[in-house]
Subunit: 316 residues, 2 copies
Amino acid sequence: MVDYDPEQLLVQAKQSNRVALAKLISIVERGGGLARELTRLTWGQGEETYLVGITGAPGAGKSTLTDRLISVVRNRSLEVAVLAVDPTSPFSGGAILGDRIRMQDHATDKGVYIRSMATRGQLGGLALAVPEATRVLAAVKFPYVFIETVGVGQVEVEIVGAADTTAVVMTPGWGDSIQANKAGLMEVADLFIINKSDRDGTRETRRDIELMLEMSSFEDWIPPIIETVATGGSGIEETFEAIESHREYLERSGVGQKRREARILDELNHIVQVEINRKVDQLISQPSFSAKKVELINGDIDPYSLARELLKIEDD
Amino acid sequence: MVDYDPEQLLVQAKQSNRVALAKLISIVERGGGLARELTRLTWGQGEETYLVGITGAPGAGKSTLTDRLISVVRNRSLEVAVLAVDPTSPFSGGAILGDRIRMQDHATDKGVYIRSMATRGQLGGLALAVPEATRVLAAVKFPYVFIETVGVGQVEVEIVGAADTTAVVMTPGWGDSIQANKAGLMEVADLFIINKSDRDGTRETRRDIELMLEMSSFEDWIPPIIETVATGGSGIEETFEAIESHREYLERSGVGQKRREARILDELNHIVQVEINRKVDQLISQPSFSAKKVELINGDIDPYSLARELLKIEDD
């Protein structure tokens, strides 16, 4: 199984071997022991990588926008990776792969790595897999990683909200802003993009966003609202400049470091939960537990005492 | 705090002191250390108590039906407790208390104990509180405990599904059966009641239920469908007889014992989760964790190693 030695794959991936990189992301998707080993190997690496989260309702034009942002990064001779996450689909495929095809402009460009990602119901799921995948991409020294999600559910918000800069893409019309507000996007958005802004309703959507922003509280950074027409390329440079301004703000204010720390502790928290569940599964499958189970059912031991015995917790 | 010594309260409650009983259920609602002590005290007691779960959409007439069933039990000179659970309301009150007023026929009857119950967002919530409350009622030797829930969401289904016999109450018309099916009620129902069966649509509702039953698989017990008009009292004796038939089936087949064991292991599982969360909270608030946190953020220790150190798990 030389193919699946994470350490060796990581060395190869760092030498721009894209097949090795793809295998590493697959390890992350599958979870388990190899994924844990990979976390140990990549932890604390790639701090120079900047994470940009891009979210919004299906049909908002996120993929086209991402495609254009890739061009902006490439024009500056920097490499970029895109992680397209679909929490609703158990397998990579379907709508998100369709969207990927639009990024074919960059298909032959070695400086661009695009990967769809899904998890197959493993413990911890995307909450663990996405940070680990971004860390692999960071270890490989991509200066930018774009994390794109489909939909604006709670999982998606959590995922993109963990980026350094989170962009929320909307379209002219009434529904999007309400939906975004419900999903808790107002709290994670660092910039708003009204895409397809050549359509009717742009002014109304801007007003909706401004109203929601007025109801929220901010410290120093007030999320800008940028109008784009991604298909025609308008507003894209402005979007990238807004990302860079936000980056400067994060560095200057120290907020970026705080966010990074919160992200790390969130990940620890998820890992602790997953490890505990693994430990409990192990305990319960032990032969000694069968005897305890009989005692419990017979009323000879109560469930709190047994739980504490299983977990080796001291009484308080 | 003599008032809140669970051991003493339990002794008093067993001597038919209803104030003491009410205090015990309040302890369960609040959760925490006293509730855990109460579990230790009541565990393995009251095995002769029979639990009947009654669920169905709001407006199906569950309270009137329960009221009538109370009369049937009381006519046999047996005592009965009713636990009315409202997972949607953070406090006892509102709709469910209104419903309770209809049970005032039994308000002065010492052999009937009726209690609304809600939990205030404590760890484990209703999944822990309801089994514990029923166990308190069982320790006090009620031969029957009726557990009534409002609504047919997943939590409600879980709660009533843990009873010995689960009755699902529907009304004539199209919507209820679809709703019940969606909520997973078909898997927990031991008998179906079409209440308000003097109305149009009873035959259609019966056909819907039969169709859903045909699509399900059963071993020996096929849930009967009983037509009632609870307000007029028709079908109530038949309902109680169906509960008793199901009880005989559970005893004869051994399914009752299996269910009881599954219920106990479910409760252990919930308790293990809650205890783990408590343990992790304790660990993270320790002063020694602050130093570890800095190591983690600096990349000197990876989160899996730290999680395992926190949890004292051996590497595998």
